[in-house]
Symmetry: C2
Subunit: 374 residues, 2 copies
């Protein structure tokens, strides 16, 4: 195996696949990156048990293959080498089956390869169940939902994000059972039938790789995995088994009052009001609508002190005396996920779930359960 | 106690004193910031057992005192409050002796004060043993020496930096017994007699506060402490007891060969050559001068692989076959502390200490002990 490759391009592609590199693993070979040279292309593959990523480099001006072959290099060291090399080109070759030689300018590295026969066979097969969308749309879906998934493994299904498509609608839902984020897309053409739960972590990793909003991305759904095809990158994640809870009746439609705020102003007030609260106690704050249409956001922590914030809303559909308590962390997560400069909180009752919407956040609903306080 | 103060100025001064704030301490009151209002000034004080910092705010356009007093506020919370406040002015007052009220725009905080009678009496007294210098000079001394101090508490004296002044010379030395950094200043006027060891951590904290290179700074040396006076800030640190080792005969003056390098080129080559070495083994690399005047920097780690870097020096005073091994971490620390674009390594023998100098790093010597390898 022998090829000469542009250093910057190699590093960029290594950065992509490194997102799937295992650190702690019962399979040591998965700490490696599989490098294959054939058909005038170099393939880089990395995998942990959740995600597998493959990139293909085949631009003849950037890579020149002199001898085909397969090798698995120690991922961390190989990336560090390429990162530290300043040369324009890297000369990569193998000898004695399991020794890798890397030459660049006046640098000469030899690196012990991992046993390539141990590397698992990973299929990046297409599926007939394909969704096409813009990267920008997918990034927006990820950013507005994954934060609401559960971090606890007690109900594994809630660590994932539900993708359900039918007819011309794709509905994406995340919930940790205390809050829920729901975003949907309406398409011009029919979606294939989809009912899949994608691990939240996989989506967050994918979001770090995809960056060009206008670029198209394909999502291939198979029974146990989803494959994202983007530029020269194949990003594959396993799906979570099980059925996602039915949340269709959870979201209220009749409201006691809807209150509109300037987004940055309400964020700042809530952040100040929760300065003395602690994560242990879910950062509970009290929200009071007064009959003079002012809002008070307050919290008290006996040992430390108390905060009272007064906020004047932009609008209030129904002025009544109303008090509710909820987690400041949950509401901040929800509001910060929005792109709108003005957001509206719709309340249904003092101990009933409430929702948050934004004028520019089309088809997005953030729902939060309040807490009972004395 | 009651005053109104400019929010930005208060936050800036809190950031300064926060460098001395205790987190874990047997004296809970030291997690607090002492605030005093008198003589038309506000004094902020924080202290851990090593460092005490006091700032004085007395600009009448920025602070308006309505009632004198003393209070100790919980440091972390108070800083967070002021950081999160967006108002231009903050209204600070106390009531019922130990309750602090902070008003800013529509925010209203009450904060439980700490018991002010428990706060230790800290004297920031001047001394007659004063050194005057520019902040730029002091920052340069700190940056070029503190990294060479010991991290281990087994010989506490080596965790400090020695300041010795006599006649018109101030000599500053740090060593962990494997390497040594020495910088001296020659003054136009006489220095007072000084022989003090300042904790390295204190100097690093000070370096984060002082930033205006042209500003003068005063250092007041007392038997057990040093006080730095800079702008409106008093920064005081305890000194380390004991006598610093005599290192005057350690630095070689006759050299076998002196080799000059481009600084960035040698740094890059050493960084690549030590990619496979581990911190546990002190990152040992081998340095070979060949008779064709090329340099080879190499390391081998059996499990991972090997690196060879060839470097062509800018100059070499004496071409001979020469090989030496040393810690790449130590030499990188030393070279990176230098401002020169060209640096020279002066060797005295294959198992003898060597020194590094730079044309623009006047009166600076970095010394490193080699290691014996097979």
């Amino acid at each position: 195996m022998k090829f000469v490759i542009n250093r910057d391009l190699l590093l960029l592609n290594l950065t992509y696949v490194s997102r799937a590199l295992s650190t702690k693993t019962p399979m040591p070979v998965l700490t490696g990156i599989k490098i294959e040279a054939y058909e005038n292309s170099v393939f880089l593959t990395a995998s942990n048990n959740e995600i597998s990523i493959q990139t293909i480099i085949k631009d003849k001006r950037q890579v020149r293959i002199e001898e085909n072959g397969i090798v698995v290099v120690p991922g961390k060291y190989f990336i560090e080498i390429i990162r530290k090399i300043e040369a324009r080109e890297v000369d990569f070759s193998t000898f004695e089956e399991n020794i890798v030689k890397i030459l660049a300018d006046r640098s000469n590295f030899t690196l012990n390869a991992l046993e390539k026969d141990n590397y698992p066979l990973i299929s990046f097969a297409d599926s007939e169940t394909v969704v096409h969308m813009d990267v920008g749309n997918l990034k927006s879906i990820i950013r507005k939902t994954t934060f609401a998934t559960s971090l606890s493994e007690t109900r594994v299904i809630l660590t994932g994000v539900s993708f359900v498509a039918d007819d011309r609608k794709l509905e994406v839902i995340a919930t940790d059972s205390f809050r829920l984020a729901k975003k949907y897309l309406i398409n011009d053409v029919e979606f294939p039938k989809i009912n899949a739960v994608i691990p939240s972590k996989s989506l967050d990793e994918l979001n770090r790789i995809i960056d060009e909003n206008e670029t198209p991305i394909e999502i291939h759904f198979s029974p146990s995995k989803a494959l994202f095809k983007y530029k020269n990158i194949l990003f594959q994640t396993r799906l979570i088994d099980g059925s996602f809870p039915n949340t269709s009746n959870l979201i209220p439609v009749d409201f006691l009052t809807s209150i509109k705020f300037n987004k940055n102003e309400i964020i700042a007030a809530i952040e100040r009001a929760s300065l003395f609260t602690s994560l242990d106690s879910f950062c509970i704050i009290k929200f009071t609508l007064n009959s003079d249409k002012t809002i008070e956001i307050a919290s008290t922590t006996n040992e430390i002190g108390a905060v009272k914030e007064e906020v004047i809303p932009l609008a209030c559909s129904n002025v009544l005396h109303f008090q509710i308590a909820f987690s400041s962390k949950y509401i901040l997560d929800a509001i910060k996920s929005m792109d709108s400069t003005e957001i509206t909180i719709h309340f249904t009752g003092e101990i009933k779930p409430f929702i948050i919407t934004g004028d520019y956040d089309v088809n997005l609903t953030q729902l939060i359960l309040p807490v009972r306080v004395s």
